[in-house]
């Protein structure tokens, strides 16, 4: 069974790129454009991994992480931060990785593979 990855990013181009990248590499990717939608999709799809942007309209990514960590069913989902914001590596302390935009696709796929193995 394919592993599910939820991509949360307000940038449509990044979102589409990540979804294609994951689908092309044997994963089942779904997407959300903001924190509210991300939480809804996470609850519905129970992804195996989430990629999370930090600065988004409305609530920011760390808020979603906080809500995930308070939900017994979602709290153990690994999160990879992908952000263009300076200092993003400090935003989610327990993220498995934090990548700067523009990111290296091979590096991302390597981290995803290691995390989901």
């Amino acid at each position: 069974m394919k592993k599910k990855i939820l991509v949360i990013d307000d940038d449509l181009n990044i979102r589409d790129y990540l979804v294609s990248l994951f689908n092309d590499n044997g994963y089942d990717a779904c997407l959300a454009g903001d924190v509210k939608e991300g939480l809804k999709v996470a609850k519905k799809n129970k992804p195996d991994l989430i990629t999370l942007d930090i600065e988004m309209p409305g609530e920011w990514g760390p808020r979603l992480y906080r809500q995930l960590s308070q939900d017994p069913q979602l709290k153990n989902i690994p999160v990879i931060v992908i952000s263009g914001l300076s200092g993003h590596q400090y935003a989610v302390v327990k993220a498995v990785a934090s990548l700067s935009k523009p990111f290296d696709r091979d590096e991302l796929l390597k981290i995803v593979k290691e995390t989901l193995t």
Binding site: I54, E59, W60, P62, Y65, G87, Y90, A91, V93
Partner: protein, 303 residues
């Protein structure tokens, strides 16, 4: 938004990378709550007496301060923070010459801010005069003498990550802590935040004079929780959410851990250094240690 607790903010900055994370907090708070933000920069320390020749805090070079130089520095600051300075922000820029702590306090005396915001170290190799002095004695002196809450963003991790919704208040049950609680509950109410009240039970032999048994520790935890309930709970009920906890250990470590566990956006604590003779102030008190280590901004309250 009906929030008027941060109407005037004094943001003391070196306008270098060392203050970038504090800047993000300052500008985001100012924009979110329509504050008047005073961007205040201390240019340098006079080489001697009242000389107009100062050692520039950014370049460490000796420069002669005149109107042209002040105008140039002001313009530099404007350029440095260009991305934040849009029409939605009410701001002013002031520059001064002298010792950072003294000038910040002087500026605070004049403008009477609701909040002073200071940056801190970045952990990089930036060894400017400003950074060295701001990280240590400036922070202590300002926190000790300020007439308003002092918010410190010392680590990049303590920056702004999307707003204030979860506040941790650390108490030691002192009178100053009660004042800090008044402030914490006002902010939590006004911003519809959750508030977690925390007490760290100091079980270090240095404090207790002996190694406590587990029964003694648990007894003290229960007593402290009762104290928290008696002292704070009736007012906490006015909030949308609250929690009360006591953890044992080394106080400043436990507070930092608790704030991280709660995903706190803000930590509020009382500062006690006013009780200590000024010569004995050292970077080692609980608040200072929390400020240096916390993963979120820390507000220190001393009056």
């Amino acid at each position: 938004m009906g929030f008027d607790m941060f109407k005037k903010i004094l943001f003391a900055t070196s306008a270098t990378a060392a203050s970038d994370h504090a800047a993000r907090v300052a500008f985001n708070i100012a924009k979110s709550y329509q504050s008047n933000l005073n961007i205040f920069h201390v240019m340098g320390v006079p080489t001697r007496g009242y000389s107009q020749v100062v050692v520039d805090v950014k370049t460490k070079e000796e420069v002669s301060v005149d109107e042209d130089y002040i105008a140039w520095v002001t313009e530099e600051i404007k350029t440095y923070y260009e991305k934040y300075l849009d029409e939605s922000l009410k701001y002013s820029i002031d520059v001064a010459v002298g010792l950072p702590a003294r000038e910040i306090l002087r500026q605070a005396k004049t403008m009477k801010p609701d909040l002073i915001l200071l940056g801190g170290t970045t952990g990089d190799e930036d060894e400017t005069v400003y950074k060295k002095s701001l990280a240590g004695s400036t922070l202590q002196k300002v926190a000790k003498a300020a007439n308003c809450p002092v918010l410190v963003v010392n680590r990049p991790a303590a920056s702004f990550w999307g707003g204030l919704s979860n506040i941790v208040f650390g108490t030691d049950f002192s009178k100053t802590s009660d004042k800090a609680f008044d402030f914490a509950i006002k902010v939590a109410k006004a911003l519809d935040c959750e508030l977690s009240v925390f007490h760290a039970l100091d079980i270090t032999p240095l404090h207790t004079g002996k190694m406590l048994s587990q029964d003694e520790i648990e007894q003290q935890i229960r007593e402290s929780l009762r104290k928290i309930r008696a002292r704070y709970e009736s007012r906490l009920k006015e909030l949308k959410g609250y929690s009360m906890d006591v953890w044992e250990g080394i106080p400043f470590i436990e507070i930092v851990k608790y704030a991280r566990d709660k995903h706190a956006d803000l930590l509020i604590m009382a500062h006690h250094s006013r009780k200590v003779p000024s010569g004995d102030i050292r970077l080692g008190g609980n608040v200072e240690q929390v400020i240096v280590r916390a993963g979120c901004p820390v507000i220190s309250i001393n009056k």
